[in-house]
């Protein structure tokens, strides 16, 4: 992000057209999405029986529609209740000038983030885990165990449950302190894992801006070569918090990883609307924040995940539309609901990883084990399988992936609304060796063998 980009965004956040958050959410966004879906003949194109799209024409039509949506809507700043809009030239320039590849991390742990295409043979980068809450005492061993998984490329790290034993109250100095502690523990975990040069994302324990300010670009904190997380409060919205973080990252000469969630059943409406909204917002992020990698996760509000048919389809269209029509570095998110030591979590991880690999994402972040609902319900084994499938899935045709996903969905989709939440890290792993216990390892092997028989070339 350049100073010019910051100033343009801030100026428009304070001078753009006025609209209330309610009007934006309930009237303008749904109305515009519906209008554009109709205009581009996209209504009813979601086919849950074929969860992985393989129509290039459809993906391209979604992209064209999303570009128009992006120009017509812009982004709402919720703090000023003004809309930040961009011209066609500005949006095109932002997309064109965004980086097409990045080197992340140092030394032997350095990885290259590249723009991909559908069915690309290059493995997407894998960031693990999502910011699931992890207790202070388990944080380092758990993150060490995850970082030791060779298919994990970047460490995000869990969200700290406490800071030096105290609850973390967002927006207070506890959060500022927690951000710095997060950085410290990240470094410790990476050192113990033997991956000291690994890139990390920052700062997951940062609800407001304070966690970020307390840790990013500071001595002993996260480095400017780590990816600064700028998460928008919702699709097609930004906030002072997000803008603070983007500005702070720019002040430090840092790299920005932007994202938000688009909701099936939410303001964007149907799966088609969620895909459209995700694409429009992913594009707009580059003009808004000048980020280096942008994207969106898609969630289904019915079960707060995305491993079901509608979520899968929306994700595939979103990723294919973006990757076919731009050279942007695109990210998305695993949103499983099953927990550790359950087969469901593994099946969800496989279907999502296959989707991401074949649909062209550059980078993906996960897992959200147990839907992110329970502290410490996270383990390295689902990360291992996800990474292995991302590598094995790179280069597989979408039509083949569709058949594999169709074979696996019946194994878990009936439980999406009431999933097994599994067990905590300490219950499914030996804390001395950090190795999985036998029952969890057996499930991993069982699912792996099943998936290999379906045609995924796992190691």
């Amino acid at each position: 992000m350049s100073i010019a980009t910051i100033l343009r965004t801030l100026d428009r956040a304070h001078s753009g057209p006025v609209i209330s958050v309610r009007q934006w959410d309930v009237e303008l966004v749904p109305g515009k999405i519906s209008e554009i879906l109709n205009k581009f003949d996209l209504v009813g194109t979601c086919n849950p029986q074929e969860p992985i799209n393989d129509s290039d024409e459809l993906a391209d039509r979604f992209f064209e529609a999303a570009f128009e949506l992006a120009l017509e809507l812009g982004i709402l700043c919720i703090d000023t209740e003004r809309v930040i809009k961009f011209s066609r030239e500005e949006l095109e320039e932002a997309i064109y000038c965004a980086p097409k590849e990045l080197l992340l991390g140092e030394g032997l742990d350095q990885v290259k983030l590249v723009a991909r295409r559908p069915e690309d043979g290059v493995k997407p980068l894998y960031v693990a885990p999502l910011g699931i809450v992890v207790s202070e005492e388990l944080w380092v061993p758990l993150m060490q165990a995850i970082a030791q998984e060779r298919e994990v490329d970047i460490l995000q790290g869990g969200s700290l449950a406490t800071v030096f034993g105290r609850p973390i109250r967002s927006g207070t100095p506890y959060e500022t302190l927690a951000g710095r502690l997060n950085a410290q523990l990240n470094r410790e975990a990476l050192w113990r894992a033997g991956r000291p040069g690994m890139c990390t994302t920052a700062v997951i324990t940062s609800v407001t801006v304070f966690g970020q300010l307390g840790a990013y670009g500071l001595l002993g904190g996260f480095k400017a070569t780590d990816l600064a997380l700028v998460l928008s409060p919702a699709e097609l919205k930004t906030s002072y918090t997000a803008l603070h973080k983007a500005t702070q990252a720019t002040n430090c000469g840092g790299l920005i990883l932007a994202g938000a969630a688009s909701m099936i059943g939410g303001y964007a409406g149907p799966p088609e609307g969620a895909a459209l909204s995700a694409m429009a917002f992913a594009m707009l992020q580059y003009a808004l924040y000048g980020n280096h990698c942008g994207g969106a996760g898609i969630m289904d509000v019915r079960y707060q995940g995305n491993s079901g048919r509608h979520g899968m389809w929306s994700l595939s269209v979103f990723l294919q539309g973006m990757s076919r029509n731009t050279n942007l570095l695109i990210n998305t998110v695993f949103n499983q609901v099953g927990g550790p030591d359950t087969e469901m979590l593994l099946y969800e991880s496989v279907t999502l990883a296959l989707n991401f690999a074949t649909s062209g994402t550059s980078l993906c972040i996960g897992p959200r084990s147990a839907g992110g609902k329970l502290a410490d319900h996270l383990s390295p084994l689902e990360c291992r399988l996800s990474g292995e499938v991302l590598r094995a899935g790179a280069g597989l045709p979408r039509a083949q992936v569709n058949e594999i996903v169709k074979a696996l969905l019946p194994k878990y989709e009936a439980n999406l609304s009431d999933p097994p939440l599994g067990v905590s890290f300490s219950e499914c792993h030996d804390l001395d060796t950090l190795q999985p216990r036998a029952s969890w390892l057996d499930k991993y092997h069982k699912v792996g063998e099943e998936v290999a028989k379906l045609g995924v070339p796992l190691p």
Binding site: D25, V26, V29, S159, V207, A234, G265, G266, V301
Partner: protein, 231 residues
């Protein structure tokens, strides 16, 4: 003058289409026609919101339509409720809920879903929005004579404010006046029990059943253990 069926039909239409002005107008017409406001609520507003709720669950409509329907229903209720004798008002609505996302958290979609689901289920909802200080929950609960305070949090670092809000209600000497329910992404039944909440719902859709159980179960706050729905 329109007859009862026509008026109730207009009220239903206004609610199902999310047309607040139409719903309000139909409510006013029902009073002018001498219809019993309680019956109008039970046979018009509540039935329409049941249909809306079913349509949302089957994804025929989505959150914006659900919100607009709830707003239209609330507009009709604002006309009708004051005309019901105070001793019969409890029959008109399932309860009064003050709802918001706690301090330090600006996520609203889950909270908006709960608000709409509760409205669909016949609760009168006072939605305070996001980043709501503990004091405001109490101030509004007192003002509207709420039955239930609902605290939403999507983040672990704002979850602590759910405890702060309950502690504040307790310190104000008001704990026995309101049921307090909690929910949101990181919130669990264990957390709800730990902080002394009266109820927990796993999904937004669980909120209606939870509130009904609290209101109709002969309970008095604070409960020794929270009622858990969906967990």
């Amino acid at each position: 003058m329109a007859n009862k069926e026509e008026i109730l039909g207009k009220l239903s239409e206004g609610i199902m289409k999310g047309e607040t002005a139409l719903a309000r107008q139909a409510a006013e017409e029902s009073l002018a026609a001498g219809l019993d406001p309680l019956e109008t609520i039970q046979q018009g507003t509540s039935k329409a919101m049941e249909v809306v709720g079913l349509r949302f669950r089957s994804f025929e409509i989505f959150l914006p339509e659900l919100i607009m329907a709830a707003e239209a229903a609330n507009a009709a209720m604002a006309v009708l409720l004051p005309k019901i004798a105070s001793d019969r008002r409890k029959e008109a609505m399932a309860g009064r809920v003050v709802l918001g996302t706690v301090s330090g958290d600006v996520h609203d979609i889950g909270k908006n879903l709960v608000s709409a689901v509760l409205s669909a289920a016949g609760f009168q909802v006072h939605d305070l929005g996001v980043d709501v200080p503990s004091k405001k929950f109490v101030d509004v609960a007192q003002e509207v004579e709420a039955d239930i305070i609902g605290l939403s949090s999507l983040l672990t670092t704002s979850m602590q404010y759910q405890k702060d809000a309950i502690d504040y209600v307790t310190d104000m000497g008001l704990r026995d006046k309101y049921f307090i329910i909690v929910g949101g992404g990181p919130v669990t039944p264990t957390w709800a029990a730990q902080i002394g909440a009266d109820g927990y719902g796993r999904r937004a859709a669980d909120a209606a059943e939870l509130c009904r159980l609290l209101m109709q179960g002969g309970h008095k706050p604070p409960l020794s253990q929270p009622i858990v729905v969906g967990g």
